[in-house]
């Protein structure tokens, strides 16, 4: 019987000394190479040894293959010193465009909410005062309706629905979605452009909001907390915590302001016993939310005795700022290519 170990030794020896790996490959693995000869020889092996013989040869064949492959790479590198290729030169240039940072955030947020059954909707950006205010329990004379807070359109007022406005928030979708769905469940995510007459370092007259609305039997504050925690973990990263603080909005009762734990100091407010520069107190304000006010449910034609719900409305520019620290939001809408092409 053939001595495989001896052959192995011979191969290793030749491998260390060879100048031509291709020749070595042919010698062992070629059609008339050593290994094929061994295999051809199998007919001369007694039947009861054939199996073991075959296994041994195959094992040897694999070893040889692996070793040769490994060494081919080393050899080729050495060869290149003659025929030099500079692999540090950049590859061929393919076009790389960019999506707007707002588009990227909208996609991310939509996906996060789709995973918990929320559907994205699209509602008007130019709407009646009724949709933007009355349907949300915001009466006439409320400060939010002043022309320093809302952009009005030069157009005749509707007898029933009032003046035409640019939606100052995405909440105008609440009443529209309730009326569209008619009977809950409602799981809405409304992402849209919003407008307010405010233009300075931290405000642009157009901005984006995303609004969540969930109406069903037995919806609780605990459910709102669950959803906010889910969003915070998925958007801002694992371990992000949320907290609710009392607040006041006309269209929710109770109303809350929600904060998320600062990713820099992990909610401690301190880094190396110095005040955290990002958040100052460990928390960053995300936005407003609350349990849908019964008047809002009534106005949407939803039985407020049977159903309850929660709602929130957050700024997209704000969450981007909180996540990536991009705080000059005026660049967002300047169209400056140097800003756009970075994303």
């Amino acid at each position: 019987m053939i001595d495989i170990d001896k052959l192995k030794q011979q191969f290793n020896n030749e491998l260390t000394h060879t100048q031509n790996i291709d020749q070595l490959e042919i010698k062992y693995l070629g059609r008339n190479g050593i290994i094929n000869d061994l295999l051809k020889n199998i007919k001369n092996i007694p039947n009861e040894q054939k199996k073991e013989y075959g296994q041994k040869i195959n094992l040897f064949k694999n070893t040889v293959k692996q070793e040769i492959d490994k060494n081919i790479k080393i050899f080729n590198k050495a060869k290149d010193s003659k025929n030099f290729i500079d692999n540090t030169i950049p590859g061929k240039t393919y076009p790389k465009g960019s999506l707007h940072i707002i588009s990227l955030a909208i996609e991310e947020i939509t996906k996060i909410f789709e995973n918990i059954d929320f559907i994205r909707v699209s509602y008007p950006e130019v709407d009646w005062e009724y949709q933007a205010f009355e349907s949300l329990n915001i009466p006439k004379n409320h400060p939010a309706r002043d022309d320093v807070e809302t952009s009005f359109i030069d157009s005749p007022a509707h007898i029933k629905f009032g003046k035409m406005v640019l939606t100052p928030h995405t909440s105008n979708g609440q009443n529209r979605e309730m009326k569209r769905v008619k009977t809950p469940p409602i799981r809405m995510i409304n992402i849209s452009k919003c407008y307010r007459p405010n233009w300075d370092a931290t405000h642009t007259p157009m901005f984006h909001q995303f609004e969540g609305l969930c109406v069903d039997t037995d919806i609780t504050i605990a459910n709102l907390k669950g959803t906010l925690d889910y969003f915070a973990e998925n958007y801002f990263g694992e371990g992000t915590k949320t907290r609710l603080r009392p607040h006041h909005f006309q269209f929710t009762e109770p109303s809350f302001e929600v904060d998320i734990s600062c990713s820099v100091c992990k909610g401690e407010g301190q880094v190396n016993s110095k005040k955290c520069k990002v958040c100052k107190s460990g928390w960053l304000e995300l936005g407003g939310c609350g349990m849908v006010h019964p008047n809002v449910l009534k106005e949407g034609g939803v039985d407020h005795k049977k159903f309850s719900g929660w709602a929130f409305g957050f700024g997209i520019e704000r969450v981007i700022m909180m996540k990536y620290g991009l705080d000059d939001i005026r660049n967002y809408y300047s169209g400056d290519i140097r800003f756009l092409e970075q994303f």
Partner: protein, 625 residues
């Protein structure tokens, strides 16, 4: 609004072992947000945010009341030392609707819900005692003298603004409360002459002489001055809507007006008046010479809200024992009556502008219990169908956005509004656009009916920043309709500074991506070296196919032939293509090159059922002439 109070001042009403830092932390979680604490001498100053519905808590006492409810939930000792709102009530024998010393005429009962005035004599003006001076200084209020300081001091302590007049400077000692006429003027305490918009609450002592712009600022010529001997103490609750309107229209905002515009409760007037009278007597040795003039026609009728323990727990999502719910509400000044599961709650007058329905009570219970103590639990999963038209908008937007990005274009988002100039430069009629009445800038006055003006601006603004610019925007345009909301239609706008065929190729790529086989029909405009087009989004959705028109593979030969044509108006690519397509064997045409006026095309001929010869293909090609 924000108020400032000091820690020691708070301790006059609150007995507690909590430190300022603990007070900040716990109150911010369950009640008013304490935004900062500043150490000042032996005291601490809290800067506190008060939400617009809780003006009742915007005072030292209000914060003490919140603290007394909240701190025990965190294991801290906290108790009110005194409750002026329930402890101090007018002595009925002293109260009169009118008094000959001061004749009152309220011309319209809608202007004011409670009017209280008292006259004091022998006022001895001097600086206020040290504690008042120190506290007012700590919270940033200017001190004047022992009388004026009392009004500021009590506004902060009890949340009810007060005004003081010099009694002798009121002509005929009469006050007529009325609505101002447009154009009437008053010189206010800060020596400004204010021309009134009309409809403001004012007081006139004789015809056409105003002595008070009520709720906002007193008049200069009835103000306390160094000669003042007699003082009118004036404590009122005005119609909040009127105050807010005057604030807005005159632009004059004072601390007092930020209180009045939110609506104050009438019962607080009694405690404030009694404490103010005591301080006037004590700090200036004055004597009260009038009765308590109190005009209060519609007395507070307590509101009773009916709810159930189960409803409270159901909305919060937790099981709180009845006793806990009741103790929380009682600590906040509500009276409760429990019968099995049902709960009747009497709302205290201080909360009359804030608590109306059971959800308002649930908020009180939940916040004092602590939002941080409520569990976090996602609602049960459910299925809601997304309307197909909405789904399409988002799916197609995404598809096209990604395609354009990968083709090397940059997405831009512009304001939905453009300037009149931008419209006119493109011969668009501004009248056919919706216009904002209160635009901040002429640059953003008209709602777009096309994305082209914005994109042209983008290319121009970016000149010199990058050689080749290829931009796109997907956004709504707003097409006005008669007596209705505009039609909001999505468009894709694409602009480049490269060349015509570059932009055309981009549009063709969109068509290919959506399996649209039609010819590109969009107009490509050229202006100042900018190539620009606009595609209707709904049209793309309509034309798109989810699956390309599939041709089965066949094993037969494909003959490729190149031919060069001289192009001209009679032999354009489109004309040649039309001719070539007459051949049944033509599979496709490929554009190879264009050199001067010579265009080379490649024609692919084959037949799905047999092999064709090169000769056959050449014959087909010859037909194109």
């Amino acid at each position: 609004m924000n108020i400032k109070i000091t820690h020691n001042w708070l301790l006059e009403y609150l007995d507690t072992d909590a430190t300022p830092n603990e007070i900040q932390k716990y109150l911010s979680l369950c009640g008013p947000a304490i935004e900062s604490i500043t150490k000042m001498d032996a005291d601490y100053v809290y800067d506190i945010e008060i939400t617009s519905n809780r003006i009742d808590s915007a005072s030292v006492f209000g914060i003490a009341q919140e603290a007394a409810s909240i701190l025990p939930m965190f294991g801290k000792k906290a108790k009110l030392k005194t409750n002026p709102l329930t402890d101090f009530k007018f002595d009925k024998s002293q109260v009169k609707q009118n008094d000959p010393l001061l004749k009152i005429d309220i011309t319209d009962s809608k202007l004011i819900s409670r009017f209280v005035a008292l006259v004091f004599d022998n006022v001895n003006l001097k600086p206020s005692p040290a504690p008042i001076l120190e506290r007012l200084k700590a919270v940033g209020v200017k001190t004047i003298n022992n009388i004026v300081d009392i009004s500021n001091y009590l506004m902060i302590e009890l949340g009810q603004p007060i005004h003081m007049f010099d009694y002798d400077l009121i002509k005929d000692h009469q006050m007529i409360m009325k609505e101002s006429k447009k154009g009437e003027t008053i010189v206010t305490l800060d020596k400004n002459k204010v021309t009134l918009p009309g409809g403001d609450i004012v007081i006139e002592d004789k015809k056409e002489h105003l002595i008070d712009l009520c709720g906002i600022m007193g008049g200069l010529d009835s103000a306390i001055n160094e000669k003042t001997k007699k003082v009118v103490l004036f404590v009122q609750t005005y119609n909040k809507t009127k105050i807010r309107r005057t604030n807005m229209l005159t632009g004059i905002r004072t601390i007092a007006s930020t209180y009045f515009e939110k609506g104050l409760d009438e019962e607080r007037v009694e405690a404030t008046t009694i404490i103010a009278s005591r301080l006037i007597k004590k700090n200036s040795q004055a004597k009260q010479i009038s009765s308590i003039i109190d005009i209060y026609p519609n007395k507070y009728q307590p509101l009773i809200i009916k709810t159930t323990v189960s409803k409270i727990n159901k909305l919060i999502g937790i099981v709180l024992p009845k006793e806990k719910i009741i103790s929380i509400l009682e600590n906040l000044g509500f009276q409760t009556k429990l019968l099995n599961d049902s709960l009747s709650v009497i709302v205290p007058p201080s909360r009359k502008n804030d608590v109306f329905i059971e959800e308002d009570l649930i908020e009180e219970v939940a916040r004092i219990f602590g939002y941080h103590n409520i569990p976090s639990k996602l609602q049960n999963p459910t299925y809601v169908k997304q309307p197909k038209d909405m789904e399409n908008i988002f799916i197609f937007q995404n598809k096209i956005k990604l395609l354009l990005k990968h083709l090397g274009l940059n997405e831009v988002i512009n304001y939905s509004m453009v300037s009149k100039k931008q419209l006119e430069e493109l011969a668009l009629d501004p009248k056919k656009h919706l216009r904002l009445t209160n635009s901040l800038s002429l640059d953003i006055e008209y709602l777009r009916t096309s994305l082209i003006p914005s994109l042209i601006k983008n290319i121009k603004d970016n000149e010199g920043k990058k050689e080749k610019l290829k931009l796109f925007e997907i956004a709504k345009i707003y097409l006005p309709k008669d007596n209705d909301l505009p039609n909001e239609v999505y468009k894709i706008g694409i602009a480049t500074n490269t060349d015509y065929l570059d932009l055309k190729g981009i549009v063709e790529s969109i068509y290919k991506e959506l399996n649209i086989e039609d010819e590109v029909s969009e107009l490509i405009e050229t202006k100042d070296g900018i190539y620009i087009t606009e595609i209707d989004f709904n049209k793309l959705i309509r034309l798109s196919r989810s699956f390309p028109s599939y041709k089965p593979l066949h094993p037969y030969s494909v003959i490729k032939l190149d031919k060069t044509f001289k192009i001209g108006s009679n032999s354009t690519y489109a004309i040649i293509k039309k001719l070539a397509e007459k051949s049944k064997l033509l599979q496709k045409i490929e554009f190879i090159s264009l050199f001067e006026n010579k265009m080379t095309l490649r024609f692919y001929y084959s037949c799905p059922i047999r092999n064709i010869t090169e000769e056959e293909a050449k014959l087909e090609l010859e037909q194109i002439k």
